[in-house]
Symmetry: C2
Subunit: 231 residues, 2 copies
């Protein structure tokens, strides 16, 4: 994080790093008070306490083999290739397997300076709908780290399905519901046949889960008991 | 957003919504001061000004066909199916094509209450490395909206490649560099042949971009001029 002004953003960045499994935070020339405040905040995370305060960007990135700047596109004339977050993150993942990578975030107001950018191999942007509307710094850090940690397979994986009630359970529910409807006078004897079929179809459409079937039957049982009792 | 305490988080959520193309923010029973502060903040976004303040969750979600709660897993016993953000977002996208969907965020401290959760069809969680470490609310909103707006194709798309210098350009650079090395006495006449080859291979490895070739040649031309001038 280069020249960060707001201590809340340093704290938010550290929290997002902890959330997604990143550990080395380097803060380059922050507004002194901001950084000290963030670091000494009550319950400051270990990650924040271990953050290194480095005066020069060149020192902060010295051990990295790839340096990627973040930018909101269109805020200046850019001399670098720009990659969208979804794609850039794949490149960074690949590079991380070999050596440390630096991901730079500029100040809230001005982003990275042209001097900062000249240290970068390429730039990455978050694909917002309006390129001129910049993002909140803490949110931008969270999005980049989320995408870096994101598992594309998780988007396809089907979670375990909730087991539907069996036909026998559905028919038990149907029978009890029909009994209650008869007791309460809902069913017209002249159309009883077609009503039964309607109720049966309705119960199927409800798609009751197997674990919910006993609950539904318990409700109906109690209602039936009360209906018969009140006669 | 249900029972939000911190006005900064309402503001951050509104900003993330604008960034990713969402427009309807409903705030359920916020701490009054917080919401008014956020809404009247200097430069409050139109989206925030248009946010609806609704006392009851059931009213806030009344027009929605799917209601999804967000949760950090493991903070209570959950009766709902839980889906990871990557997968849940696909389901929400599909549902959004048909009808409005509500995405609920609870308070900073307690998340959604059991009563709030009972209005949900299912729950969604952000896959953090440590399930017990909750996320910052503004960041959580940003991540969910980013994933909803995310284009999986963008992860695969190759951006346009920077055009490499042609062999002719590379050879021009090589010739000028060799000239400069000769003028400066770098090349030992006895090993000149192998040095030339080394320099040629080095220039190829540099993989100079076509647009950078004139710049490099301009530098070398100036150095050569000075070298010859100083003889």
């Amino acid at each position: 994080m280069v020249a960060t002004r707001n201590p809340l953003n340093i704290g938010a960045a550290a929290r997002a790093m902890a959330n997604f499994g990143f550990s080395r935070l380097r803060v380059v020339a922050p507004y002194d008070v901001a950084f000290r405040e963030a670091r000494s905040a009550v319950g400051a995370a270990p990650l924040l306490q271990a953050a290194e305060d480095v005066p020069l960007l060149s020192d902060a990135i010295a051990d990295c083999r790839l340096v990627v700047g973040t930018t909101s596109i269109g805020h200046r004339e850019l001399q670098h290739p720009i990659r969208r977050l979804e794609y850039g993150a794949r490149l960074i993942q690949r590079a991380l397997a070999q050596a440390p990578v630096a991901l730079l975030f500029g100040s809230e107001k001005f982003g990275l300076s042209n001097d900062d950018l000249s240290h970068c191999h390429w730039l990455m942007r978050i694909p917002t709908v309006d390129a001129n509307l910049s993002m909140n710094l803490g949110q931008a850090v969270a999005l980049c780290l989320y995408e870096l940690a994101r598992d594309p397979k998780a988007a396809l994986a089907r979670p375990e399905k909730i087991r539907a009630a069996s036909a026998a359970e559905q028919e038990q529910v149907t029978a009890m519901l029909l009994d209650a409807l008869r007791q309460s006078g809902y069913i017209n004897p002249r159309t009883a046949g077609s009503t039964e079929e309607k109720v049966r179809r309705l119960v199927r459409r409800l798609d009751i889960a197997s674990r919910d079937a006993p609950v539904v039957m318990g409700m109906l049982r109690q209602i039936l008991w009360k209906l018969k009792d009140s006669k």
